[in-house]
């Protein structure tokens, strides 16, 4: 395979593809940074399930976190890293390639 012929399917990322992780990435990509509790509420996930997915994404270097105090309680803010953003967008490109260019919804 030549370097010039870039295959969009190469961007398919199995770490991101798990449905909840894809949704987490979609939210963080749009929001820039989001509080853990908000992500949980928006995606309808329990704290433990969200934590598990965030750990996988953090281990892959796709998500970073920042801790901040609000109303005397510590809150965790999540964001996509540069690597995570690239991986997420590459994954979306792969999904679009699978669907095909003629799909009117894309």
């Amino acid at each position: 395979m030549s370097a010039e012929s870039h295959d969009p399917l190469e961007g398919f990322d199995t770490t991101i593809h798990a449905p909840n992780r894809l949704r987490i990435c979609a939210l963080l990509d749009t929001a820039g940074e989001a509080e853990f509790g908000l992500v949980q509420k928006q995606l309808g996930l329990s704290a433990s399930v969200l934590s598990k997915h965030i750990t996988v994404l953090m281990d892959a270097g796709y998500v970073g976190q920042r801790k901040a105090v609000r109303d005397t309680r510590q809150r965790v803010w999540l964001h996509l890293t540069g690597r995570g953003r690239d991986a997420y967008r590459g994954h979306l490109a792969a999904l679009r390639a699978i669907v095909g260019p003629s799909d009117p919804a894309l």
Binding site: T14, A26, T30, A34, G37, W77, R96
Partner: protein, 163 residues
Amino acid sequence: METNGVRLTPEQARSALADTEHIRASAAALSATPWPNWFFITLTLYTAALPITYGGAMADPDWLLPGPAWMGIMLAMTAVYGALFAVAAKTWRNKTGVALRFDVLPKRATVPLAVGLPVLLVGAAFAFRVTGWPVWLFAASLISAVASVGFHLAFVRLHRKVA
């Protein structure tokens, strides 16, 4: 364990894309949450006052007050505005749970504003200095206030539309 050999049908890929689009839309609605009214009023008053104080500071000869007094007023109100912005931004972030972004509105709206308002500010002060007619400053003040109201309404509309 992650499987590397995942195979997707176009229908599954389409469904995944539709899901991300749904999430994107709900996150965009949060990002488009308008400022609280108290800060919207503060911002409008600040943008309306800035051309007048800047024009006063640049006036030659002095207009109503000495130039340094206008400059002092402008710096003081900018400092107060900056402090209130910090409070509003923190409140907004805590309320919405998302980062404050400046790229929510389309560039066709924000770029003319980013270029136009400074030109208006400097241009009105220059015109006032040359002609001595304060109407330049009042016109710039009015346009700035209208722009502030217009952008606030755009956020309100966008927030409702995508929410």
